[in-house]
C-alpha cells in the first residue's frame, strides 16, 4: 500500500449513457432495482416517479434526463442508487451499477472548462483512471431539481 487511508476516496460507480460516474460511498444508502414506478403528473421531467422501497416513499430521479443525456429507449431494467437528503429518500435511476472503486485523491482534477454544462452543474470534479475518466457527482446538486417555472 503506497497510499495512506486519508488519501483515498471510495466511490460507488455507475454508468449513465455510457459515461462512468462516481458517488461518494458515504452518501449511498443502498442499491436496488426500481419496481413499479408511479408517475407524478405535472412534475419536472427529471422526476421519473415515486416508488415504494420497504415502506418508504422514494422519489426516483431519471439520471439520463438530469444529466441531459438521451432518454432510455430500450426499456431495459435499470438500477437505482438510494440516497438521502434532508430526511427524504431519493433513488437515482442509472443504466448499470459498477464496482466500488478506491481512488487516490491526487488523481482528482477540476471540471474541464469545456465540460457539457448539463454535466458541469452536478459534477464535483473528474478522476483520471486507467483508460477511463470518472465524473464525480455532487449528490446535493443532483437533487436540486428545480420546479419548472410554475407551468400551470
Amino acid at each position: 500500500m503506497t497510499e495512506s487511508v486519508e488519501n483515498v476516496i471510495e466511490y460507488v460507480t455507475a454508468t449513465v449513457g455510457g459515461q462512468l460516474f462516481g458517488l461518494p460511498i458515504s452518501r449511498v444508502q443502498d442499491v436496488f432495482v426500481p419496481d413499479r414506478l408511479t408517475r407524478v403528473p405535472l412534475a419536472p421531467p427529471e422526476i421519473a416517479g415515486l416508488l415504494n422501497l420497504r415502506g418508504r416513499i422514494v422519489t426516483a430521479i431519471d439520471m439520463r434526463r438530469r444529466l441531459c443525456l438521451d432518454a432510455v429507449t430500450d426499456g431495459s431494467p435499470r438500477m437505482a442508487i438510494g440516497v438521502e437528503c434532508r430526511g427524504e429518500s431519493y433513488g437515482l435511476l442509472i443504466d448499470a451499477i459498477g464496482e466500488v472503486l478506491k481512488v487516490p485523491v491526487s488523481s482528482r482534477e477540476d471540471n474541464p472548462v469545456n465540460l457539457d454544462p448539463g454535466l458541469a452543474r452536478v459534477s464535483a470534479g473528474v478522476h483520471r483512471l486507467d483508460g477511463r475518466l470518472l465524473v464525480v457527482l455532487d449528490v446535493d446538486r443532483v437533487l436540486e431539481v428545480a420546479p419548472r417555472a410554475r407551468a400551470a
Binding site: 413499479r36 408511479t38 408517475r39 407524478v40 405535472l42 412534475a43 416513499i57 427524504e88 437533487l143 420546479p147
Partner: protein, 865 residues
C-alpha cells in the same frame, strides 16, 4: 442539556402560561383567594427552583414580582397598573427562559428597570393595616391558604427543587383546599411526561403497521379459504385499536391553543381602550396536536381582528344601545369527524357595502356580478388574498395580512372557514377542521390508467354517467357541466387537469363523476373508474414535488403501490380559472335571497348573429343529434328520442337543419311528451336580472332584453309548443262546459306575466294581469268577478302576503282562492302563507303545479257553490 435544567424549563414554561391566564382572571375577580393562591404557588416554585439552579436574574425578577403580589395578599386593592407590570415581568421571564433554552445559561445583563418599577409600585400601594377591607373572611381564608401552601418551604434555595406536582402532593392542613389538591395530585400521578418525538415515532410505526395490515388483507382477499383468515382478522382489529390508541396520545385539548388568548385580549383591551369580555367554551375539546399547532396562530389572528375591527368603541356601543363592554366568544365542539371552532363578537358586523366596493376596486369582481351576489357571498370576499377593510393600519391588525392568511392556513389542514355577520349585531367566524391529518379515509379512483386518492372529506357523492342515461355530460362550448337535481355542476376532467390523458381528452361519456365540495364551491371531478374507500396514511410530498398544487401528499396502498392524494383545494383553485364561477351556482336560496329576478338564461343563436335567450329552467335538456337520424313524416321533421317520436321545430324560418356534424336542440318536455327547438348554436348560460324592455309583436318572441350587454330576444316557449303538437295546449282543456274561470295574475315582473299568462290561457283560464298589489286590489274591488288569484310573493312595496291579508279582510272576497308563487319555497314561508290565508303555494317555474293547484281550488269553488 442538563436533565434538571430541561425539566425546569418544561415545567416553568407550563407554569408561566398558567400564570398568564390566572392573572387576567385575578384582575377581574380580585377577591378570589384560590386564584391568587394558585399564582403565588407557581411563582414560588419558579423562584425556589431558580435559586437552586443558580439563575440569579430569574430569581431576582420573580422575587420582586412576588413581593408585589404579597401586597395583594395583605389586602391591597388590585390595580390594572400592577397587573400590567407583573405581566411585563412574566414576559421578561419568558425571554430569559428562551435564551436559557438556547444557551443553557442565563444571558448577561440585569433587570434593574423592571425590578425598580416593581418595587416602586409595591411601595406605593398602601397596605391597609388592622382596618381591613370589608370582606375580611375572604382574606382570612386567603391568608390561611398561603400559610398552608408548601411553596415557601424551599424559598431559601438550599433545598432541592421539587417539581410542582410533587409539592402539590404534600397534604395541606386546610380541609377545603385539601380536597382539590388531592384531586390534582391524583391526576398528576396518573400521567407521565413523554417526549413528542417518541409519540411521533409511535405514530409513524403504527402507520407502517396499518399499511402492512392493508397489504396482508389484500393478499388474504386473493386466497379465499386460507387458514390465515382468522388470525388476519384479529391482527386487523388489533391494528385498528392500536391506531386509535396512538391517535389518542396525540390528542390535546384545544384549550392549549387558547392559553395565550385571555392575556392577548386583556392587552388589546387596554391598548384599544375597549372593555372586552372574553368567553371561552369547550376548551376541553380534543384534537390532534399537529392540527392544534396549525390553528393556534389563525385563532389569535381572528380574536385580534374581532377586538380591533369587530367591536366598536364604548361610546359607539352606548349609542347603539349595546352594553359598553363588548364580548368576544370562543367556542369549540365536536361534530362528526370534525371540530368546529367559532370566534364571535357582538360588534358592528361586516360592512357589506364597503366590502363590495373594495372587492370591485380590487378587481375581484365586476360591478355587475357584485350586484347579483347575496350578502353572504359578498362577505366571503374578506378571505380573498390581500383583502383588508381596515381603513387605517393599527398596531393590532390591518397590515394587509388578514383573513386570507387564515384561510390559507385552514386550506393547508383541509379545514373550512365561513363567516356569518349581521350589520350592527356582530360577526361570527366558524372553522371546521378534521380531527387528525395523519390518517384519512380516501376514495381510490382511476384516471388514464393511474390511480389517485381523493380525501373522502371533500366528496359529496358519486354519479355514474353514461351517454344514454339520465346523468349525461352536457357541454356549453368547452365547459362540461352535469345537470344534477336542477343545478348545473361544473365538471373538470382529472386527466386533462393533470395533463395525463392521451388523445381525445375529456371525451368520457362513460365514467364517474366525483361530486366534490370545497367551501361553498361544488364541482365534479370526472374519472374513469372508482374502486373503493381506504384508510390511507398521508405522507408529505417530496420537497421536489411540493410545488404541485393538485396534490396534498402521497401514500402507499394495500397492494404496495404508491399513489398521489388529490388536493380538492388545489383543484378548486384551478377550476376558478377554467370554468366560469358563475356556474358554481350557490344554493338556490342564496341566489334568490337578495333578488328574485335573477334568472339563469340559456343563450343561443338561431338564424341571425344576434343572440336569443330562453329561461334555462324551462328547458328540459340540451341535445346534440346526428342530422342523419332526422326523419320526415307528414311534412314534419321528427327524431326518435327515448322510444318516442319527438317533433323538431325550427326557432324561425332562417334556421336550417345541419346536413352533417351535430345538430344542437333544445328539448322541452311536459307530461311525458317532448318537442325540440332547432337552433344553430348554443352559446352560453348566464345569470341575469331579467327586464324585458321591449315587448315584441313578433310571433314566438316575448320581447327584447339586455343580456351580457347585448340586446337579446327572449323567445316565448308557449308559442312553439302548439307548433309541435297541435293539441298541446288543448288536450287538457277544461273538460266541462262551464264558463271559463277568471284568474287575476299579480306579478311585478313583466317577464313572468308574459310567461305565465299564455300557460294559464292555454289551460283554459281567462287571465287578467296586474302589476302590483294596489292594482290587484282595485280590480278585485271593482265590478269584475274573479274565481282565483295567482300572486307573486316577493314584490317591491306591498308583497303577496299583504295582498292575501287584504283580500281575506274584505268580506266580498274573503273566500276567494289565492295561490302564492315564489322562487323561495321554504317551510316558514308556507306556514306564513297559510296564516295569512293563501290556499296554496307553488314554486315559480312549476307550471304543472300551478295548473293543478288552480284546478283544485276552482273545483273546491264548484263544490262550495
Amino acid at each position: 442539556m442538563d436533565e434538571l435544567l430541561r425539566d425546569f424549563l418544561t415545567e416553568t414554561h407550563e407554569s408561566i402560561d398558567v400564570v398568564d391566564v390566572e392573572l387576567v382572571r385575578f384582575e377581574q375577580d380580585p377577591n378570589n383567594a384560590k386564584i391568587l393562591n394558585n399564582i403565588f404557588r407557581l411563582v414560588h416554585t419558579i423562584k425556589g427552583t431558580c435559586g437552586f439552579l443558580n439563575l440569579p436574574r430569574l430569581e431576582a425578577l420573580t422575587h420582586a414580582a412576588e413581593a408585589l403580589m404579597g401586597k395583594f395578599r395583605d389586602g391591597a386593592r388590585v390595580t390594572g397598573e400592577a397587573v400590567t407590570l407583573i405581566l411585563a415581568t412574566i414576559d421578561r421571564v419568558k425571554t430569559l427562559l428562551d435564551q436559557l433554552e438556547r444557551n443553557e445559561s442565563e444571558p448577561a445583563g440585569d433587570d434593574r428597570d423592571l425590578i425598580a418599577e416593581l418595587e416602586r409600585v409595591a411601595a406605593a400601594i398602601p397596605v391597609p393595616g388592622a382596618a381591613r377591607q370589608p370582606d375580611e373572611s375572604a382574606i382570612d381564608e386567603l391568608e390561611r391558604a398561603f400559610r398552608d401552601t408548601p411553596g415557601p418551604r424551599y424559598q431559601s434555595g438550599t433545598q432541592p427543587a421539587a417539581p410542582s406536582a410533587a409539592s402539590a402532593a404534600e397534604p395541606p392542613e386546610n380541609s377545603g383546599e385539601r380536597e382539590d389538591e388531592r384531586a390534582d395530585s391524583k391526576i398528576a400521578n396518573q400521567s407521565i411526561r413523554v417526549h413528542v418525538d417518541t409519540l411521533e415515532y409511535l405514530m409513524t410505526m403504527v402507520s407502517e403497521l396499518v399499511l402492512t395490515r392493508n397489504q396482508l388483507l389484500d393478499i388474504g382477499r386473493r386466497h379465499e379459504d386460507s387458514e390465515f383468515k382468522a388470525p388476519l382478522q384479529r391482527l386487523s382489529n388489533v391494528t385498528a385499536e392500536l391506531q386509535d390508541g396512538v391517535m389518542k396520545t396525540r390528542m390535546q385539548p384545544i384549550g392549549n391553543a387558547w392559553q395565550k388568548l385571555p392575556r392577548i385580549v386583556r392587552d388589546l383591551s387596554a391598548e384599544l381602550r375597549k372593555p372586552i369580555e372574553f368567553e371561552m367554551q369547550g376548551a376541553e375539546t380534543e384534537l390532534d396536536r399537529q392540527v392544534l399547532d396549525l390553528i393556534k396562530d389563525p385563532l389569535i389572528h381572528m380574536v385580534r381582528n374581532s377586538a380591533d375591527h369587530g367591536l366598536e368603541m364604548p361610546a359607539e356601543r352606548r349609542a347603539a344601545g349595546k352594553p359598553e363592554r363588548g364580548t368576544i366568544r370562543l367556542a369549540a365542539w365536536h361534530e362528526g369527524g370534525h371540530i368546529i371552532v367559532e370566534v364571535s363578537d357582538d360588534g358592528r358586523g361586516l360592512d357589506t357595502a364597503r366590502i363590495k366596493s373594495i372587492a370591485i376596486a380590487r378587481g375581484l369582481v365586476s360591478e355587475a356580478e357584485a350586484e347579483k351576489m347575496s350578502e353572504s357571498q359578498i362577505q366571503k370576499f374578506i378571505f380573498a388574498p390581500g383583502f383588508s377593510t381596515a381603513s387605517k393600519v393599527t398596531s393590532i391588525s390591518g397590515r394587509g395580512v388578514g383573513m386570507d392568511v387564515v384561510r390559507a392556513n385552514m386550506d393547508q389542514i383541509g379545514g373550512v372557514i365561513d363567516v356569518k355577520s349581521v350589520l350592527g349585531q356582530g360577526t361570527s367566524f366558524t372553522i371546521k377542521i378534521p380531527l387528525t391529518l395523519a390518517i384519512v379515509s380516501a376514495l381510490i379512483v382511476q384516471c388514464a390508467g393511474d390511480r389517485f386518492a381523493i380525501p373522502q372529506l371533500a366528496v359529496v357523492e358519486l354519479v355514474r354517467v353514461r351517454s344514454n342515461s339520465e346523468h349525461r355530460i352536457e357541454r356549453i362550448k368547452d365547459a362540461a357541466v352535469l345537470r344534477l337535481r336542477n343545478k348545473l355542476l361544473p365538471l373538470v376532467h382529472l386527466g386533462s387537469l393533470l395533463k395525463i390523458s392521451e388523445g381525445a381528452e375529456g371525451e368520457v361519456e362513460n365514467g364517474f363523476i366525483v361530486v366534490t365540495q370545497v367551501g361553498s364551491q361544488t364541482f365534479g371531478i370526472m374519472v374513469d373508474a372508482v374502486f373503493h374507500t381506504e384508510e390511507i396514511v398521508v405522507k408529505p410530498m417530496s420537497g421536489r414535488l411540493r410545488h404541485i398544487q393538485m396534490f396534498c401528499g402521497n401514500t402507499i396502498l394495500g397492494d404496495g403501490s404508491v399513489i398521489m392524494i388529490i388536493d380538492p383545494n388545489g383543484i378548486a383553485q384551478e377550476l376558478v380559472g377554467t370554468v366560469s364561477s358563475r356556474l358554481v351556482a350557490d344554493t338556490e336560496t342564496d341566489r334568490h335571497a337578495d333578488d328574485g329576478m335573477v334568472e339563469s338564461m340559456l343563450l343561443f343563436r338561431a338564424g341571425s348573429p344576434q343572440p336569443k335567450a330562453v329561461p334555462l329552467s324551462l328547458v328540459t335538456r340540451l341535445e346534440e343529434i346526428d342530422p342523419r337520424s332526422i326523419e320526415t313524416t307528414n311534412d314534419r321533421q321528427v327524431v326518435q328520442y327515448r322510444g318516442q317520436l319527438m317533433p323538431l321545430v325550427p326557432v324561425n324560418d332562417e334556421v336550417r337543419l345541419k346536413s352533417s356534424g351535430a345538430q344542437p336542440l333544445l328539448v322541452f318536455s311536459d307530461d311525458g311528451r317532448s318537442m325540440a327547438l332547432v337552433v344553430d348554436e348554443i352559446v352560453d348560460i348566464v345569470e341575469e336580472r331579467l327586464d324585458i324592455e321591449l315587448a315584441s309583436a313578433k310571433a314566438g318572441v316575448l320581447g327584447c332584453a339586455v343580456i351580457k350587454g347585448q340586446a337579446t330576444e327572449v323567445i316565448d316557449v308557449a308559442h312553439y309548443l302548439p307548433l309541435a303538437f297541435e293539441d298541446w295546449l288543448h288536450w287538457r282543456h277544461h273538460p266541462t262546459g262551464a264558463s271559463p274561470r277568471q284568474v287575476l295574475l299579480v306579478d311585478d315582473a313583466p317577464f313572468f306575466r308574459n310567461m305565465l299568462a299564455p300557460v294559464l290561457k292555454a289551460a283554459g283560464y281567462i287571465v287578467t294581469p296586474a302589476t302590483s298589489v294596489d292594482e290587484a286590489l282595485a280590480l278585485l274591488h271593482g265590478n269584475r268577478r274573479f274565481d282565483a288569484v295567482v300572486t307573486d310573493i316577493e314584490m317591491p312595496g306591498r308583497d303577496g302576503f299583504e295582498l292575501a291579508s287584504a283580500v281575506r279582510a274584505n268580506p266580498r272576497t274573503a273566500n276567494l282562492p289565492i295561490i302564492g308563487l315564489s322562487s323561495l319555497v321554504s317551510a316558514e314561508a308556507i306556514e306564513r302563507g297559510r296564516q295569512v290565508g293563501l290556499h296554496d303555494y307553488v314554486a315559480k317555474f312549476d307550471r304543472q303545479g300551478l295548473i293543478a293547484a288552480l284546478k283544485e281550488q276552482t273545483a273546491d269553488l264548484d263544490r262550495a257553490a
